[in-house]
């Protein structure tokens, strides 16, 4: 696991120095993170990296979990999808199961933090313990895109959210009318992880060899799950429009979940759309192959993210960090990362994507400049160190209601 000093060459010694000063301002405060699992899923991934780094900076950050049975997690999975705006059948029984397990956790989970940092809906009801800890501050961290939430689930959660001192969302469009303070904290990538660290050219070449991808023509790539919302067939259509004018190849690579029938279906449809074109490489990448994803991104001439809907779009962040010119849909968190014509090109359609890809392939100098801008934008805003800073400021906000705070 990287140490905080390992980030100094990337973000600057002075930035890490500022983090240490901020950590000093949280002396004596215990931050208790609570979520539902230690492994698997984005939240656990973030906490696995953030908690040790906060501790190394001198913040007394800790991490505990709630417990729940299969029926509880089935219900919360449905809640999760419904909050994302997906159509789900939510039954009264699910709410009952949710409340029963929540009550057990209220009785069993030890609550001791000065700041209680509760992640996502699963442990949300723990806030009922707030009254028994009068000096504690409670923050609800919503990692979900709740821009168009299922009303039934949102209304059920609302009375609990109102009891918190603050809530955190990942994009401005996710915020809801609430009587508590709401903060904006974007996700981040770890520049030292396998998915993002620098790779030697030999590693990149080996991965290309493994997947039989020649280096003789430009490579357009989309990295994403095989999911309708990522529009892989739309990417193939855009590639075909580009191919009429510029000889190039296309990689569509990402994970397929064997337990997700939709993903298998989308994969099959994508394969079918590719037909017999040998310049299209549809690659199911097994989970845990982060270095392969990293290599494919680095080998690409242009990276595409033609999603129809997107949460934050961390694959875009990863591509920008590799200084790649990007063509991406203007949806979800993507416009926060890609400013049109500054750090990439935004599109709204297949033909728009194709036009932008052609522009970048035909103007390598322009493409290079966009890529470099993108990398600097990520360095400043979407690396783990910025996330650490935001979390510490969030904790400090609990003790400072004013807009300008002198520490």
């Amino acid at each position: 696991m990287p140490k905080i000093t390992d980030y100094e060459p990337i973000v600057g010694i002075n930035t890490v120095e500022e983090l240490r000063i901020l950590a000093g301002k949280l002396q004596g405060k215990v931050i208790q993170n609570i979520n539902s699992t230690a492994v698997g899923g984005g939240v656990a991934e973030i906490l696995n990296r953030m908690v040790p780094l906060l501790q190394e900076l001198g913040v007394d950050a800790r991490w505990d979990f709630i417990k729940g049975g299969e029926s509880f997690f089935n219900a919360t999975k449905k809640f999760h999808n419904a909050l994302h705006g997906k159509s789900e059948e939510i039954t009264p029984q699910m709410f009952e199961i949710f409340m029963e397990t929540s009550q057990r956790n209220i009785d069993e989970v030890k609550i001791y933090g000065d700041i209680m940092f509760i992640h996502d809906p699963q442990p949300i009801v723990l806030v009922k313990k707030k009254d028994s800890m009068p000096n504690s501050k409670w923050i609800w961290r919503c990692h979900i895109d709740v821009s168009t939430p299922n009303k039934q689930v949102w209304d059920f959660l609302t009375p609990f959210i109102h009891q918190y001192d603050g809530a955190v969302f990942s994009a401005p469009g996710f915020s809801q009318p609430l009587p508590i303070r709401q903060f904006l904290i974007s996700p981040s990538i770890d520049p030292l992880s396998d998915k993002n660290k620098d790779l030697p050219q030999e590693t990149i070449d080996k991965v290309l060899e493994k997947y039989h991808i020649p280096k003789d023509k430009p490579i357009i790539t989309q990295i994403s799950r095989f999911d309708y919302l990522k529009d892989p067939v739309g990417v193939i259509e855009a590639y075909r429009l580009v191919k009429k004018r510029i000889d190039c190849q296309l990689i569509i690579a990402g994970g397929t979940a064997t337990d997700d029938p939709e993903s298998t279906k989308v994969f099959a449809e994508t394969k079918e759309a590719a037909g017999s074109d040998t310049d299209i490489h549809i690659l199911p990448i097994p989970s845990g192959s982060d270095i392969e994803i990293n290599a494919l991104q680095r080998a690409s001439t242009v990276i595409v993210q033609k999603s129809l809907r997107e949460g934050f779009g961390l694959t875009v962040t990863e591509a920008l960090w590799k200084a790649k010119p990007i063509v991406a849909s203007s949806t979800g968190g993507i416009p926060l990362q890609v400013k049109h014509k500054y750090s990439g090109l935004l599109c709204h359609s297949v033909s728009g994507a194709a036009f932008a890809i052609k522009q970048l392939l035909n103007s390598p100098e322009y493409a290079k400049r966009l890529g470099e801008n993108g990398r600097e934008h990520v360095r400043q805003n979407f690396l783990l160190t910025r996330h650490l800073k935001d979390y510490m400021l969030l904790f400090l906000c609990m003790y400072h209601p004013e807009d300008v705070v002198y520490l």
Binding site: L178, L393, V404, V405
Partner: protein
Amino acid sequence: MNALNKAKEPFKFYTQVSIPELTGLKAANIQELLDLIKTVPGSVIYHHTHRFLQQHQYLSPEPPNDFAYWITGILGEEELGEALYSIDTIQYTTIRELRDEIIRTIENCIVQHPRSLHKFATPGEEFHFVKSVSFIFQTPYTASDLEEFQAVLQRVTINSIYFHMFESRLRIGRGTNDFSNWLEDSLSEKKLANKIASLDPYTHTMENLRITLIKLIEKRIVKSMEKPSEAELAFPKP
């Protein structure tokens, strides 16, 4: 006189970091945007006219405010966008004055182009009002003369330079930037202080601004090392 002075008071470098706080307010057209600009807290206006300075370290400066960016990019009102881009922020010493100028610019445009009122952002592309919560704290760095000052400027974060050049002037309401104040008051470097005060920092990237400041100071240091001319020796300044 070219010699460098020791400061009466050392310059203490502070820094500033901020976290965005969501207001839950959003606008889908120019009228809604205008109505909210008139009523939101000053911290919101500050956020949307300054956040780009710290967040967008592009190789070239980014368009200088979110209102202009949204009006141009989402509503397609390029003329109004340009009018907002070109507001000379440096000439305003309070958020109130800056807000009034933004309001005046939008109102003028609506009078000239009433059709602009009929343009709506598609769902998901509305303008979201956000405010900046700033935390200000002292760094370990101080400077007592120009050479130390130049050395520290190379070392501190862009957040520190940002605080002394922008935030203290406009948000804290000190009227001019902290560097110029100190150079003039504690080092009697009036000419250098004026040069820095007359920069338009909004058209620089922060790293570029750092280099510009360092170069100005360097020039002054080099000048201090030059031998005085015969005329200066013959007629020394009192």
